[in-house]
C-alpha cells in the first residue's frame, strides 16, 4: 500500500494553521508555479493525465487548456464543493482537514488559465467546511497568498466563498453558476460549455475539490510521478467513500487498481461478523449496483464499465444481506424525485413517476406493465434530460433489476 497523498495532512495538521500547512509542503507548489509560464502549468496538468474526481472523469488538463485559450476576460475559477451525491463525503473530509490545499490549488489554477477571481461553492449543510474554508481564505489573504501581487509577482487572484442552500442539482456545473448568479439552480443546455460561457457568461474553469487537491502534488512531484500511481486511464490517487455495512466506514485513499474486495474487506475492515454482502451501490445514487460476485473487480473505469458500474464520485455503499433492497431503491427513487430541479420534462415528471412505481413495487403491489413503464421512463430520462441528474436518475434502479438483485412482484 502506498502512503496517502491527498490525505497526507488530514488529521495530522491543525487545519486552521497556516504554519502547519506550510510545514507540510504547503504553498511550495504555488511558489514554483509563479516562476513558470502559465502554459507550462497547463501542460503539466495535461501530462499528468488527471481526470475530474467529481464523477464525470473529464480530463482536467484539457479543461484548463480550453479556458487558458479563451481570449475573453474576466475568467473565473470555480471550486465545486457542493458535494451531495449520496454516500459521498470525501470532499468534506478534505475541506475540513486540509482547507489550504484547495486555496493553493485554486490560485495555481487561476494563474494557469488567466483568471483573477475564484469562487468556492460549498454545500449548505457543510458548516464546518465552510467555517474552515472562510478562515483559510482570510488567513491566506493576510499572508499574501491571495489578493494583489501574490508573493510579489504580477499575478493577482482572490477567492469568494458561497454557501449552497439545499439543492443537489447545484453540483451540476451550470446549475451551480446559476446559483452563484442568484437564480434558481437549474442547469443550462450545453453547449455552450463553461470553458466558453460559464459563470456570468464568462470563460470558467470549474473543478471538483478532490481534483484540485491533486494539483499541488502534481506540481511538486511532476506528472510522471502522478502517472505511476493508478491506472493508465485513471492516474493518480483516488479517494473512496466506504459506507454502510462495514466495520470502519470512512474515506480511503487508494489507486484505482484496488479491487472492491480489497477496499471493503481490507481497508474498511469488512462486514461485522454474521453479515454478508448483498449488494454494493457504487458511484452514489446516480451509480449502479455491483453484486457480491463482482467484488474482485478493480475500480478502474474500464473494469467497472465491464460490469456496468460507474466510478462516479467514488462512493461505495455496502449493503448487507439483512437489508430489504427495495427499501434502498425506494430511497434512491425518492432522492431523485426530491432533487429534480423541474426544468426539463423528462426528469421533472420521470423522476416522480419512477418513485411512484418503485413504491408500488416495494410494497409488492405493482400494476401490470410497471416494469415496462420504469424502463421507458429510464430510457427517456437518459436520452432527453438536460443534465446528468435526469440522465442518471434511473441507473441504480435499472441495474438492480438487470442484475436480478431484486425480484419483481407479480401484479395482483
Amino acid at each position: 500500500m502506498i502512503a496517502p497523498i491527498l490525505l497526507r495532512r488530514v488529521g495530522h495538521i491543525d487545519p486552521e494553521s497556516l504554519a502547519d500547512y506550510e510545514a507540510y509542503e504547503g504553498f511550495r507548489a504555488l511558489r514554483q508555479v509563479l516562476m513558470r509560464r502559465p502554459e507550462q502549468v497547463v501542460e503539466m496538468v495535461k501530462a499528468s493525465g488527471l481526470r475530474g474526481r467529481g464523477g464525470a472523469l473529464f480530463p482536467t488538463g484539457v479543461k484548463w487548456e480550453a479556458v487558458a485559450r479563451q481570449p475573453r476576460r474576466p475568467k473565473y475559477v470555480v471550486c465545486n464543493a457542493d458535494e451531495s451525491e449520496p454516500g459521498t463525503f470525501k470532499d468534506r473530509v478534505l475541506l475540513e482537514g486540509d482547507p489550504f490545499a484547495v486555496v493553493e490549488a485554486m490560485v495555481i489554477a487561476g494563474y494557469a488559465v488567466g483568471a483573477s477571481k475564484g469562487y468556492i461553492y460549498v454545500r449548505g449543510e457543510y458548516h464546518r467546511a465552510y467555517t474552515r474554508l472562510s478562515r483559510a481564505v482570510s488567513v491566506a489573504r493576510e499572508a499574501g497568498y491571495l489578493g494583489t501581487h501574490i508573493l510579489g509577482s504580477d499575478f493577482s487572484f482572490d477567492i469568494e466563498i458561497r454557501r449552497g442552500a439545499g439543492a443537489y442539482v447545484c453540483g451540476e456545473e451550470t446549475a451551480l453558476f446559476e446559483s452563484i448568479e442568484g437564480k434558481r439552480g437549474m442547469p443550462r443546455q450545453k453547449p455552450p460549455f463553461p470553458t466558453e460561457q460559464g459563470l456570468f457568461g464568462q470563460p470558467t474553469l470549474i473543478n471538483n475539490v478532490e481534483t484540485l487537491a491533486c494539483i499541488p502534488w502534481i506540481v511538486r512531484s511532476g506528472p510522471a510521478w502522478f502517472r505511476e500511481i493508478g491506472s493508465p486511464a485513471m492516474p493518480g490517487p483516488k479517494l473512496f467513500c466506504v459506507s454502510g455495512a462495514v466495520q470502519r466506514p470512512g474515506v480511503y485513499e487508494a489507486p484505482v487498481t484496488i479491487t472492491l474486495r480489497e477496499l471493503i474487506e481490507g481497508m474498511a475492515g469488512g462486514l461485522p461478523s454474521g453479515q454478508e454482502v448483498q449488494a454494493i451501490l457504487v458511484g452514489g445514487a446516480a451509480g449502479a449496483f455491483a453484486t457480491p460476485e463482482e467484488m474482485d473487480t478493480p475500480l478502474t473505469p474500464e473494469a467497472l464499465q465491464a460490469i456496468g458500474v460507474p466510478l462516479g464520485s467514488g462512493a461505495i455503499m455496502v449493503i448487507d444481506h439483512r437489508v430489504p433492497l427495495w427499501e434502498v431503491l425506494r430511497r434512491v427513487a425518492r432522492f431523485f424525485a426530491h432533487e429534480s430541479c423541474g426544468k426539463c420534462y423528462p426528469c421533472q415528471l420521470g423522476t416522480y413517476r419512477q418513485w411512484e412505481i418503485v413504491e408500488r413495487l416495494a410494497r409488492g403491489e405493482p400494476l401490470p406493465g410497471d416494469v415496462e413503464r420504469l424502463r421507458d421512463i429510464a430510457a427517456t430520462m437518459a436520452d432527453a434530460s438536460i443534465c446528468g441528474l435526469g440522465q442518471t436518475a434511473a441507473n441504480a434502479i435499472l441495474s438492480a433489476l438487470e442484475k436480478g438483485l431484486v425480484s419483481v412482484p407479480t401484479p395482483a
Partner: protein, 179 residues
C-alpha cells in the same frame, strides 16, 4: 411597533447593505445570512431585500421556494435534520427516525405546536462514516442514538437564542428603507 432587539435588526440591515452592491448575485448569500438571524424569510423581509438588491420580488420568492434550506414560513428554533439516505438507512436511520418521531410527537417536516422543534427527513448529509447521522441546526451527531439526540435537542432549546422572527415584526414594517 418598536422591535425588542434593535441590534439584531441592525445586523440584518448590515447584511443587506453588504450584499446590495452585488445585486442579484448577492441574493442567495444575503437570504442565507439574514435567515441565520431571523429564522425564516417573511414576505416583508423579502420585499425589503428585493428592493435593496434590485431583484424582482417574484424572483426572490422563486429562489426561496427552490432551495430546501430557505424557509418562507417560521420553522422551529431547533431544526432536526435526520438523514435517511442509503448509508444511514443501512445503519439504522429508520429506527432512529421512528424513535424521534414518537418521542417528539412529530411527523416528518412538521414543527411542534410551540414552534420549538422542526423535524426533517433529509437526503444524504454527507457524513456517512458517522451513520446514522443527525444535524441539530449546525451541530453534528453521529452515530446517533435517539436518547442522545433528544438530550442534545433539549440543550439547544435551553441555550439557543430565539430567532428574531419569534419576537419581533419585520424591519420593513418598522423602519422604511435603510439603504
Amino acid at each position: 411597533m418598536h422591535s425588542p432587539q434593535p441590534e439584531r435588526w441592525q445586523q440584518v440591515d448590515e447584511i443587506i447593505q453588504r450584499w446590495a452592491t452585488h445585486g442579484r448575485s448577492g441574493l442567495l448569500p444575503c437570504l442565507l445570512e439574514v435567515q441565520d438571524i431571523t429564522g425564516y424569510l417573511s414576505p416583508e423581509l423579502c420585499a425589503h431585500i428585493a428592493r435593496h438588491l434590485r431583484v424582482p420580488e417574484a424572483d426572490v420568492y422563486g429562489l426561496i421556494s427552490f432551495y430546501s434550506l430557505l424557509y418562507d414560513r417560521p420553522v422551529g428554533r431547533v431544526v432536526l435534520r435526520v438523514c435517511d439516505d442509503v448509508p444511514c438507512y443501512v445503519r439504522g436511520s429508520s429506527e432512529l427516525l421512528n424513535a424521534l418521531q414518537e418521542a417528539l410527537g412529530l411527523e416528518p417536516n412538521k414543527t411542534t405546536a410551540d414552534g420549538a422543534i422542526t423535524l426533517e427527513v433529509h437526503p444524504c448529509l454527507g457524513r456517512c462514516e458517522r451513520a446514522p447521522f443527525v444535524l441539530i441546526n449546525d451541530d453534528e451527531i453521529g452515530p446517533a442514538r435517539a436518547e442522545d439526540v433528544l438530550a442534545r435537542v433539549q440543550a439547544h432549546l435551553q441555550s439557543a437564542p430565539s430567532t428574531l422572527s419569534e419576537r419581533a415584526e419585520d424591519p420593513a414594517a418598522t423602519e422604511e428603507g435603510t439603504g
